[in-house]
Amino acid sequence: MIIKTKKFTRRRVLRGMLEGSAVAVTLPFLDVFLNDEGSALAATGSPLPLRFGTWFWGLGMNPKIFVPRNIGMDFDLPEEIAVLKDVKKHLNLFTNFRIPTDNKPNLCHYSGWVALRSGATPSGRRDLPNESLDMPIANAIGGGTPFRMLNFAATGNPRDSYSFRSADAINPPEISAIEVYQKLFGQEFHDPNSSSFTPDAAMKLRKSVLSGVLEDSKSMYKTLGVNDKARLDQHYTALRELEGRLELQMQKPPPALSCLKPSKSPEEIQVGLDSRSVEARHKAMTDLLVMALACKQTNVFNMLYSNSASSLTREGLPDVHHNITHEELIDEVLGIQVQSSWFLREAFKSFAYFVDALARQPEGDGFLIDNVLVYAHSDNESAKTHVLDGTPMFTVGGAGGRLNTGLHIDGKGDVATRLGYTVQRVMGLPIDNWGSGSLRTSREISEILA
Amino acid sequence: MKLPCGAWAGSTFLLVSISALVVGCTTTEVSQVRPASTEKIIGLVWTLERPGHWETPNALVECPDGLQHTEKDNYYAMEKSVREDLGNKFGHRWFRGPNGENSSAVPWAIKDVLPFKEVQSEVSFGFDLDGTQDGRQTPLTCGHQKFRDAAGDGLVDNQLYRVMGCTKGWRSTGAAAGYRMMEFPHYPQNRILIEISKVNDEMNDDLVEVVFYKGMDPLPKTADGQFLPGLSQRVDTRNPVIARTSGSIAEGVLSIEPVDLATFPYRWNTRTGTRDWYDMHFTLKLTDDGAVGLLGGYQDLENYWLMYRRGLAVSVDNSAWSPPSMYAATVRLADGHRDPVTGQCTAISSALKVEAVRAFIVHPPESFNAAQFALRGY
């Protein structure tokens, strides 16, 4: 019997007792903590993989009504994040962390997310000095699933992706829920829980075509310069990954008891950045993502609700969110930018839906959220003045028992990359530091470690 | 040496003309002065049509005896043996005709058992068509009761309201009226354009020209369901002009010189045909973006029944009417175009509520080839 609690600690497990009851799974659980795949075991004996994801929203927050007064457990929820009430227990909130840019300029709506994703600040608007942290994590845990990662942009804009290897290799996002459905649950979907499995003969042919292409195009190398050779290398890597996926799909997929193919394709959602459309797209994509995770189609994902310079609109308002953060007067009585806060509350409403969707999805004897770690953040603290210090961040999920949740952590001015570093370590990356320049850190945020 | 006179003349001419050229290029062009035209054209496209009925909630005033008996009611009011016989021979209860015809196909051949419920209201929308004060019989019209005008002083004729006003389906919340409201703007067969030209003053103008055309373009709506003003609406030249008449505007309200016969193209409940109005009257209150008004006159009964039978055969149930008794009522209550030999009036007074939005009424360009368009659609 597994106790449905997040308060696992190694010490308790070793003692073999947990709140007075016997724990059915003990040491093997520990072994798995240390194994390469980083997956946890359920009572059924089949592996529950650990998943990693990111969630992004643009234009930060209004500190006055966002930052809780209390630190630690049982923190209060000020009005801008009141909507997180029911999911608070799954989250950790991080405020008052800094993003120093050293001598580089603060590139509005750019430096912040680049720093938080890659550990380094950019020197120009097309500079992405390092790969985003989901990439090494995908390398570590992305194998064995058909999709190495799934990226989503609720805005519907194909340029909205903060997952990248370099400025020239940005991982493209899904922009249509209908296409996502086709990709994940269309023709190529094999129900992991069906007793029969007939490998698609076409897969084999496809795979041999790819192998042939790989072989044949080696002759291109002869006449390429250094840079182009490197590009071709990356193309080959992509071809091989695709080959690997086809290989995987020729085998019976591992059982995933809570996998349930959605019965129908999502409805068409109106193109555009109206907050209602973005919310609808986010919801449809979240639902599909959660089921994809349950069906073990991927272990790594990136969800973007609004991009860093959010151009979301609201019916009746002549301006986009971004402009409003700059032009709206601070309300004399309330002391905040009312319209801007409306947009942010909408973002947190969608965030709450996202977290709740993970929390509702059963998995093993618990829920999907127990086996997930989501790194969520924005791009600045107060968008009006493009302040980087204090950029809000969250983690979601228990990461297979490795994380405590329900905490508000005050960074006390520490560098924000501590969280990115912590998160990578929790996911099992063998690194001992992360970040460059003033963002370099080798200190985890131990309060959240279980 | 003496140059010939011609040469001198020639060179002078050259000089003068060159000077003129120089002078001409440097002075500003003098444009022809034309009197600015103060006349303009107001274009409208008819967007919504509703019956010209006067209603109170739950029909308490106009239908004190309750709403119309339906086809089903009349069927079950027949003697059981008769019903069973019909059922055995022809099946469904709609097939009550002498040879098993659908009751809406031959309404004249069936006699409904239950009494018909006429409208009891004294008030209605409409127009004074017969010119009498009491609805008495005249050489051209049949005796009938007039209504008090719901929209003003005076008396109006609207016998079709008397027939239809207690039918559930034709009340403003009814199925038939609702369907009509959806269908009317949806199909280009119903596109009616109203061009008011020679307008000097949109509020008051003694003499304007009013032409009704058939259009052919869709009517898109805005995000919140309103009809979009300012659209271009092409005139469908395959259709003859529906009506051309003169009119006048007083305090922003247009009225027309009645039209003897106006034949409107018509699509109703998937069937196409025409709707013929005799003595067509029309008033329209102009607003910034559109207009609201009333169209009325005598509807030719045969034409009306042809379309009604075809259009509403399947909706006897959801519109809650019974064709035979309704047919009998229209024949009894018809008040216009009296046949001198039989004395039967062959047209019935009625009115429609009209809503319209402003549009550009676009006539085809000179290069337009009507025959080719008729054949190929471009």
Binding site: G225, P318 | P220, Q226
Partner: protein, 560 residues
């Protein structure tokens, strides 16, 4: 007396003659001698096909009935053009996936019963078995057009083998052929336009693109598609290395109706037309600006450009004053004009003399695109104009800018001009804003959806402004002033050259661009002539080869 009279007449005649002859002379002034300067060229590139190039190539090779609905991942915009970003873009798994799907779907269509008789020139001896002969005939032709060069023996052998092995496995010749086609379509040799070079026979130590690479560069530039068979033939014969041969092919490409695709693709890149994909307006504030209007606004702009530049052979500068355009139903509501046009059609349209519109900047495609969802943005319009049409960089606003000065409309600040007054009065803001605002404010009588208005919040709109300190009073004058601005044409020239060669320009290219400027002027700013002078210049195919590249065994398979 008579003599005096005679002298007078003679003088008059002489004066007249002089006036006349000078009038004639001014129309036949000698063109200044324009010599192309030497440049060093750039390194050979490996550009990824763009989405439109992919689709156009498939349509041209296999026919328009083959649908290729693939969405490519976005490419970085470098030097103002995605064509340059294509040179460094890296294909990730996320970008490769849709390409693989597309390859399979296209192949399946080609071999389908509906298309196979048309597209496959031979029939297999038995449909259920492999037939290498027929496969070879088809695949060598298709491969040549797809790889844009003849296949080497090894390559051909490999692909025929794929067809054969797959046919055996699937028990169907056509299935096998479909796999072989997918193989070609997913190959980097199709997806990347790899450039190869050879020594210039006339100039030692100079290198230029080889014949096939020239054909590709020409065709992707002028037709936005892979070279057709004739162009490949010309490349194989060595025609593209001779002036005569090159000119002949260039003239053919420029005379073809396919030129329109190329011109469109160029302007779609230069004018960043992708922004239309996400353009929406507030439906309450601008109910007439429907999603159909967005699509039509984009199309109207491109149709106007290609009609003016190609069909009418117009002066490029006149694009900013022309009243000729095209109109659709959805746009007619926005422009508030009557248009005799069907629900999905277009008609040629001319703005009337007293209409306030004339030129590209008064089209909804420009006005609405550089505005906010519910109001105008003079700054954005000015910036869009500067950056995309004048190639002038406008710096980003500083991060610590205080916008409190710039409030929403209040009783005192009803119009945009009043609200932006802070930009011009505050010296910190004015530095950059005087680059943009005086341009954008001239267009203020066109609201955020491009609709005409006389007032804003009941206050009259003042449209005075300036272009580089030349005062202009309204949108028409703005177009006329821009018409005479040398930056307008030199920007186009530099973009054309950059786009065609796929590289950013450097200071070394200055003299070359001056040369092209003069050529453009000499041709009365005809765009097609600019294309011609660009592609037939010495510089266009020139390549700079560094030692590393030279040292490599730089012979491709097919060059053996």
């Amino acid at each position: 007396m008579k003599f005096a009279l005679f002298t007078l007449r003679l003088t008059i005649l002489i004066i007249a003659a002089m006036v006349y002859s000078s009038a004639i002379a001014s129309t036949t002034t000698e063109r200044p001698h324009n010599e192309e300067p030497e440049v060093s060229g750039a390194s050979p590139s490996m550009r990824l096909l763009s989405q439109s190039q992919y689709k156009n190539s498939i349509a041209a090779i296999f026919g328009p009935q083959i649908s290729s609905n693939v969405r490519f991942s976005p490419v970085q915009r470098i030097g103002g053009l995605e064509a340059i970003g294509a040179r460094s873009i890296i294909v990730t798994i996320g970008a490769l996936e849709p390409l693989e799907n597309s390859a399979r779907m296209i192949s399946a269509q080609i071999v389908s019963e509906a298309n196979r008789d048309l597209l496959i020139p031979c029939q297999p001896s038995a449909a259920i078995k492999r037939d290498d002969n027929c496969a070879k005939i088809f695949l060598s032709r298709a491969g040549r057009l797809l790889f844009r060069r003849h296949l080497s023996d090894v390559e051909l052998k490999n692909v025929v083998n794929v067809a054969g092995a797959s046919a055996e496995q699937a028990g169907d010749f056509y299935d096998g052929l479909s796999q072989a086609l997918a193989y070609l379509l997913i190959s980097p040799k199709f997806l990347y336009i790899q450039e190869n070079f050879e020594a210039d026979p006339e100039q030692p130590n100079y290198w230029h693109l080889d014949g096939y690479s020239k054909a590709s560069r020409l065709s992707f530039f002028l037709w936005d598609a892979a070279p057709d068979s004739r162009l490949l033939d010309a490349a194989e014969r060595g025609d593209l290395s001779t002036q005569e041969g090159l000119h002949r092919e260039v003239k053919r490409l420029l005379a073809s109706p396919r030129l329109e695709q190329g011109v469109r693709a160029f302007f779609e890149d230069m004018l960043i037309v992708e922004a239309f994909d996400l353009l929406t307006k507030d439906p309450i504030i601008y109910p007439a600006f429907t999603s159909q209007a967005v699509t039509d606004a984009r199309e109207q702009m491109l149709m106007t450009i290609s009609d003016h530049l190609i069909a009418r052979e117009g002066d490029y500068r006149d694009l900013f004053v022309t009243r000729n355009t095209f109109m659709s139903r959805a746009l007619a509501v926005v422009y508030r004009v009557p248009a005799h046009v069907g629900p999905v059609d277009w008609v040629p349209f001319e703005f009337s003399e007293n209409d306030h519109r004339g030129g590209l900047l008064t089209l909804v495609g420009f006005l609405a695109r550089y505005s906010h969802p519910g109001r105008t943005s003079p700054t954005n319009r000015g910036r869009g104009l500067r950056e995309t049409l004048l190639c002038q960089h406008v710096p980003d606003p500083p991060p610590n800018v205080n916008f409190e000065l710039f409030e929403n409309s209040t009783a005192e600040r009803k119009t945009a001009r009043q609200r932006l007054e802070a930009h011009s009065s505050n010296p910190i803001c004015a530095g950059c804003h005087r680059l943009t605002d005086p341009l954008g404010l001239v267009l203020e009588k066109f609201d955020g959806a491009g609709q005409y208005r006389e007032t804003e919040n009941d206050a009259p709109i003042d449209t005075s402004g300036s272009v580089n300190r030349v005062p202009v009073s309204d949108a028409i004058e703005l177009g006329e002033t821009l018409h005479d601005d040398p930056a307008l044409t030199s920007c186009l020239v530099s973009r054309v050259y950059s786009y065609g060669t796929g590289r950013e320009l450097s200071n070394d290219d200055g003299h070359l661009l001056d040369y092209f400027d003069r050529e453009f002027e000499n041709s009365d700013y005809r765009f097609v002539d600019l294309l011609e002078s660009t592609v037939t210049s010495d510089a266009f195919f020139k390549v700079e080869v560094d030692d590393d590249l030279l040292a490599m065994e730089n012979r491709n398979d097919y060059q053996d």
